[in-house]
Symmetry: C5
Subunit: 321 residues, 5 copies
């Protein structure tokens, strides 16, 4: 589906145009065309390929989807794939946007994503001075929007991690913690797959040797690079903390287990002593003088209770109870 | 065994030729020859060495097999070894294909593999415009086919991992999980040995300085590079997840153990109290008034049951039972 | 808030100036202006942007705060973000200082930090020979001050780690140790985020190719680089030691648990033997000759005590008690 | 001890020569001299130093032994140290061979090794076309022989690892497994110390910038490089697998422990119930009607057995027994 | 304190000179001056700074001490900091030596160290041919001496590790092992901090681009580099082995624990059966025919013993006892 197809000149919108008129507008020296597709069909992409002269491998990637994020040069053209990560009921949905950027056109094709880039277009149109820089600036604006949407997800992760950390030293919560830690690790993998390859490849658009269309926007892409580096750093820290938390959780289980064993041992000892003493006075020897005593029974009970209390205090002191 | 020996010109098949005629066809300026061998004998390889002027070290590698995947230049010629990974009854079979690529010939030698590349040849012959690019494109087509066959194996791994993950927090499944995780790790090693060295060496065929025969197909090899990077990324994620899962599994065993110990402790305590009380009333003191009471026995039973229930409720509340 | 706004020439302070006069002083060939802001508002930054011709992206970073430490070049200007890490009641507060350095000006904007850089300015003014080197030297002085404040935090960490290590082999302290180790790991992350990106980027100000304003201060920045490398090395060692300590702590829990189990087993055995013996002499067989013996009872007690002692000594010997 | 001292020309052996004649033969433009020493004394090395003009640091290394494998250039000369790893009764013996290679000589000094390189010399002499390439080819032949001897050791490791893996999920074998895994890790370290530094340094003899004497043998050294890369890959995989196996082994111990605890808990419960019931009917209350019943005793036994069976079935069902 | 102050020419000692005469001797074209300081005061260093024209940052580093090992160039001068690691009663003392090397002088300042470099000076003076190479060679001699003193420390570590390994599979030694492993890890960190940064920076004195004063001694510094690489390799292996040993130790604790639990379970079962049987015959039913039997008691004892033996043999067989 074609969402928008607009021609711009000197940073200003000229007109919404039909796809058939693209060639006409591309011919104007200072104009550029910005087309946005949503879940494009093979036919639509084939048409765009003809209009803009796109490379077949890039078109195939945009059509098949499920690509790794990447920035590739095909001659004058730059082809960018980014992951769109959207939280949705405790899960992260991963969509994709493929962007073809030429000297005088930008074509974006979005897939499996609910949230569009209309706001990006509007913001660009409000700043003609920047938009005047052309297709490179549009790519920056799109990329900046995609990357900015990663930050709230990092915050989700950090909130979840803090939630787990609050309970990590709480007895009896080990099972829940470990499940949540495992799920969180999974989620961080999703975002890392979105951010890390992009970071790695972004050097192509700033720094050393960049394509002509991006020379004047280098500092903007460095800014995106910087954001991605921050996101990657946060993910690494979260993942490292998860690793430590899993270890700590295991330690806490072992410590709890150890305390249970001690308590068990202590009570077992107390009752074992009581039972052994009762057993002794339950023996059937004929000559057991204390059995004949008037206060033998209360004395025996007293002895048993005394022994139990003695042990109890002892165990208390060493911290087993 | 020689599977095919075909001469091509301008992207079109000229003829199936005999191995004796190879020299004749190689002499034609625009023709190239594509030979496919299966489990070649030393003699067959020696003959090919003479026809195409192959380097002895490359021939030796193709003959001995069990090589690491690699891409090597011998003067004008490029020598490529790839692993063929085929799932077979819960196991992965690893075959090999060695490809010699010269200016005007391609020679592939397949070993220990059930699935051939006939489909690749047919697809190439249906696209003369691409095949016209010559030997470099044929190498791409073969490489692309090999790498594409790695994807279903990644999916197998992911399915297996998901199967394990569904049971990882299930009490009593730890033993099975750990065995499956260990086996899965083994399997990922096999695929990693196939994909990682290839990825590392593929930079020789695109990007900076590439051999003359591959200049026009650079973008295709970058595409293969991209696929391999995706495969490597997936393997790394799977292996990382396996590591975490093994740790989590150990935690679950410890948690279960801890719960068993608590339950054991609780029941032991309940019966220890009962036994101790019964033991006390089983003592043989002469003066134990309650033994003479009419309802002493039911009262004693009641006391024992009451004590047991009290403990039971207590343990329930703290979650030990 | 504007803290200071001073013009310097040939290493000497000329005057406290108003922000309106900045342009006037910048016009003097050998003068430079050093402005210090605290928690600057958007308006103040906008004014500075106009006065000094700052890049919008850099200004935006300084305004939003929460940046990753970085050193970026915008044309002639260098933009630096550093984290200020200040210990505060068992916690580390992280502030930020953004520094814009041009050929003839330095503008620093500090946020969320209690401790200022007045001392740095005073020390610079006392050494005109160094201050004469201009804006580059001022940046060095600020950076040196920031980095020097990291060292006491490293010492805090090392003291805390030593405190934990003293108790790590002490029975019964596992729970406290693991909590402290986990918290310490968190704290080291904070400092690492401050120091590591700076170290990585400092190469831009010394070594190979440095901006013109920093050529004469290269050796000073290398010195800062060296300090940061030392800090990073210390953090890495602390983190590595924390990892080992967590493992060792788990081992200690397991060892303690093992010892408790042995002790439990030993006492359980001693009382089980006593109870079993008492139970036997409590059986109601008619013909049990020893029950009739005059000293049967003391003999039985003796036998029980003897058996218990025997076991006790045995367990002592093997180290279970 | 001098094993051999032979002069070659155009790939053919000229004569066994005395050490005194070396200078004479070195003077012939196309000849080269190949000397092999075993456990050389300081005097022998000093003599060789004079004959061939060896660098004192290299001679010192060859004399002292216990070097790290390395490839060093001293002006025109290349100095190579390789480890010889020989299996010997469950242990790996590590010998050393130092090789000095000049434009027209090869001097090898072997230490602490049982197996010589006579076979290498014979094979070289049988292939004059290759030997004609001179000292560089001889170095390749020696290096290839050394590296080829690492492969059977890898196979030993893999066999040992498979042997352990067969028992890793077998109850009761944890102690033996962990000892064998620890020993195997040690052994892999030995081979890694032999192979890894060599791999790292081999780039000096092929690829970019190589010494004059090695230009024509580049492809041979790349082949050795490839073998070493394969060996290193195998070692890494084995070490990684050992790491996982140690973790898995620990998990298996924990799982077994958990099962033992459950079984213990189950039997303890069954007997605790029996004992408690018997204790109740052993109480001495006067009014306990069931004690008077004719079939009270068998009924009581029946009740006890019934309760025990009930529990037994219950535990069976939940898998504790 | 000034230990020595000597002028050399053409590799020969000219005279012990006073610090006031340094400038005089530096003026002679072929002479160089070698000064050794021990725990120098601020005044002494200030004097040296004036004599030799040292850079203030380097002097500050030498004065403050507690630097990271490093090799820095200040114009013509090279400034080197090395750690001196000396074993002292189970601990490692870390001293420091700072060396300033100029075209015609060497100044070494040693701190917190007991063992001097007098031997190095003497050895240098005995070899005029080498000493003739000037200041660069003196630096090599000092560095070589420092690094050579690391080797016995590695041997200490290896001996300690072997001592632990001998006991690692010994039941009951887990606590001691883990303490010793933890301490050993600490010690290796100390040496690593001494060796690793030096190794990393030594590339500045050999290989690519080296300062003029070090061109003729490149091969010597490469030799030091090689020694440091060996030391680093050994440390890495030791640390890796410690990691594995800690894991193995934990496994051994778990295995021992598991065996204790089994043994405990077995004995508990044996006594529980005895007690239950005795309890049954201790019940007070009126009709219990076997109680009336003449040999009922011995028969009961026999039954109990028989049951116990049966269990004992059973447990023996499955390896629990």
């Amino acid at each position: 589906m074609i969402l928008n197809c607009v021609a711009y000149e000197h940073g200003h919108k000229l007109a919404d145009i039909g796809t058939g008129d693209i060639a006409h507008w591309l011919a104007r020296p200072d104009a550029f065309v910005w087309v946005a597709l949503l879940d494009p069909s093979a036919e639509e992409l084939a048409q765009m390929q003809r209009e803009f002269g796109l490379h077949e491998l890039a078109v195939e990637d945009a059509l098949k989807g499920h690509q790794r994020p990447k920035i590739e040069e095909y001659g004058d053209m730059v082809f960018v794939v980014m992951h769109l990560v959207e939280p949705h009921d405790d899960e992260l949905l991963v969509g994709e946007v493929a962007v073809f950027v030429g000297k005088n056109f930008v074509l974006s094709a979005r897939r499996r994503s609910e949230r569009g880039f209309l706001g990006v277009r509007e913001r660009c149109e409000r700043e003609p001075l920047l938009l005047e820089r052309g297709a490179g600036f549009v790519l920056y604006a799109l990329m900046d929007a995609v990357v900015d949407r990663y930050f709230p997800i990092i915050e989700l992760f950090e909130a979840e991690l803090e939630g787990i950390e609050e309970k990590i030293f709480l007895p009896g919560s080990a099972r829940g913690n470990i499940e949540r830690l495992y799920d969180l690790k999974h989620s961080t993998s999703v975002l890392r797959h979105a951010a890390a390859p992009l970071l790695e490849m972004l050097g192509k658009l700033h720094g050393g040797r960049v394509p002509a269309a991006f020379v004047s926007t280098q500092e903007y892409f460095r800014d995106v690079h910087d954001h991605l580096a921050r996101i990657n750093g946060s993910i690494d820290t979260i993942r490292d903390t998860i690793g430590t938390a899993i270890q700590v959780n295991l330690s806490m289980v072992a410590i709890e287990e150890s305390e249970t064993t001690k308590r068990l041992a202590a009570w077992a000892a107390i009752f074992a002593v009581s039972t052994a003493m009762a057993g002794i006075w339950g023996m059937n020897f004929e000559v057991m003088p204390e059995l004949k005593w008037r206060y033998g029974y209360p004395a025996a009970l007293g002895a048993i209770v005394f022994a139990a209390l003695l042990l109890y205090r002892r165990f208390r002191k060493v911290g087993w109870l």
